[in-house]
């Protein structure tokens, strides 16, 4: 391993679209950086802002929340509640001065293994120059 900064990313993936899309990336043997540890949740609508703040506090350099495209939610509309709730989270994090790049939301369908791959590559590339996220991280 070389010396370049490797950001630590937590990704909350909905089970039916984004986690399945990520599975498809695997089945298709697409390659992306290993910086992201996925946590599969049932629906993006179930992602509480607490999860995001908590991930940053416990040392995440970036947080991704990914759900089904609008209209495709396995739970019909959970992603639309997520869209509204997480828009507020994003505004708030930027308001207190966190780099806007550190929190990312995406729609990845079960068929979009390629999109997931690109998303992770770009996310890691964006986070690398920012260095470690120290603002919200717990200082002990």
């Amino acid at each position: 391993m070389n010396d370049r900064f490797e950001p630590k990313i937590v990704a909350f993936l909905c089970k039916w679209c984004s986690s399945a899309g990520s599975d498809l990336a695997g089945v298709s043997r697409m390659q992306y950086p290993a910086n992201v540890v996925p946590i599969t949740v049932m629906c993006s609508g179930g992602v509480s802002p607490l999860y995001i703040f908590s991930a940053f506090k416990r040392g995440a350099d970036g947080v991704l929340v990914s759900g089904c495209h609008p209209g495709d939610c396995h739970y019909i509309k959970g992603n639309l509640y997520a869209r509204r709730r997480l828009a507020l989270v994003k505004e708030l994090l930027e308001h207190v001065g966190l780099e806007p790049e550190r929190f990312q939301m995406s729609w990845v369908s079960a068929a979009e293994g390629a999109k997931y791959t690109e998303l992770i590559k770009d996310f890691v590339d964006t986070l690398r120059p920012l260095g470690p996220q120290a603002k919200l991280r717990r200082r002990v």
Binding site: K57, A87, H95, R138
Partner: protein, 347 residues
């Protein structure tokens, strides 16, 4: 012009005389200094002690939460106990009541809302007043006849322009006339601020790093006394994510549950913990905070908390066209969506 205190007293006296309410929550003179304090009026004879002046800052909706708790504790209360509680509400306070109604925390027939129109006035900002008058000892603050204030100090009365000491939230107020009420004292007004979110301009114009430095400095002061939480009419949860002490333990609570209680945030007032607490609080109040700004007033270390809450109020309006506390019958901000909600931030 402004609502007459005599009219408010007469209404309170009438309600208590008729036995139409259990008691009335209003304001009387504070025990120290010139500022009004919340007061509970139980007999018609006490009504003359009620005051109405530019220091009636307190959002009395706060006390409805306690009332509801008692209600839950004594569901078989006597007939008398089932009467509504009278509350004196300014426009902003009435919006808080509207949110409590929206969240079904308070029943509409459990409250009798004595609305008071702020007309062209509002409450003063203690800080602005102190800066304006320096060391002079203030004895009384009253509404002037032309929208300004008359402040009586030990050196006699002075007229002060509204703009000089009016609280920012009143400058940006969109509900000078109560939005829910049973009776309103004062003129009906439809006040539209020129810049409803003007106080955010400065912080929004800062570069992200400057914003970070600002909040790091401000939130770094937080001693986690939770005064902001205690005074907030919306902070009525039995259990708060911010501290484990408020964990509601009941007969059903298992040892495992107690042991497993998530420590989202440590009690130590480190910066990261303070940020977590205030971020969570801001999110918790998104679509619920009606900008009474009691948190900031109560804060012993002067953290500009309003800039957090106001930001989310602004985003709720601009992103989702959501107005907080104007209609108790609409779904809340986070329990609704529109198909056209913006998603340009989503990849």
């Amino acid at each position: 012009m402004t609502a007459s205190v005599e009219e408010i007293r007469a209404e309170v006296k009438k309600l208590l005389d008729e036995g139409a309410v259990k008691y009335v929550i209003g304001y009387r003179n504070g025990s120290a200094g010139p500022f009004a304090a919340p007061a509970f009026f139980t007999g018609a004879g006490e009504a003359d002690e009620l005051v109405w002046d530019p220091t009636c800052f307190h959002n009395l909706a706060r006390f409805l939460a306690d009332e509801r708790r008692e209600d839950v504790c004594a569901p078989e209360a006597e007939e008398d106990g089932k009467k509504p509680v009278g509350v004196v509400v300014k426009g902003c306070d009435s919006r808080a009541v509207a949110v409590l109604l929206q969240e079904k925390f308070v029943d509409r027939d459990a409250v009798y809302l004595i609305g008071v129109s702020c007309e062209d006035g509002g409450v003063i900002d203690e800080g602005k007043l102190a800066r304006k008058l320096g060391t002079a000892k203030v004895e009384k603050i009253e509404f002037g006849v032309d929208g300004g204030f008359v402040v009586t100090t030990d050196e006699g009365p002075i007229k002060i322009e509204s703009a000089d000491i009016l609280d920012d939230r009143c400058v940006e107020c969109r509900a000078a006339y109560p939005v829910v009420h049973d009776v309103v004292i004062g003129e009906q007004v439809d006040r539209k601020p020129e810049e409803p979110y003007g106080s955010l301009d400065e912080i929004e114009s800062l570069a992200p790093e400057e914003r970070w430095e600002f909040w790091e400095r401000e939130l770094g002061k937080c001693i986690r006394c939770y005064a902001c939480r205690s005074i907030c009419p919306m902070c009525y949860c039995d259990e708060c994510v911010a501290d484990t002490i408020a964990f509601a333990v009941t007969a059903d609570t298992t040892a495992d549950e107690k042991a497993q209680k998530i420590k989202w945030v440590e009690r130590s007032p480190d910066n990261s913990e303070n940020f977590f607490y205030h971020l969570v609080r801001a999110m918790h109040l998104a679509g619920r905070c009606i900008d009474c700004n009691e948190c900031e007033r109560a804060c012993p270390v002067d953290i500009p908390l309003r800039l957090l809450n106001k930001k989310l109020e602004k985003e709720a309006k601009e992103l989702f066209d959501y107005d907080v506390g104007f209609d108790p019958d609409v779904p809340s901000l986070i329990s609704s969506f529109r198909d056209e909600d913006p998603e340009d931030f989503i990849r």
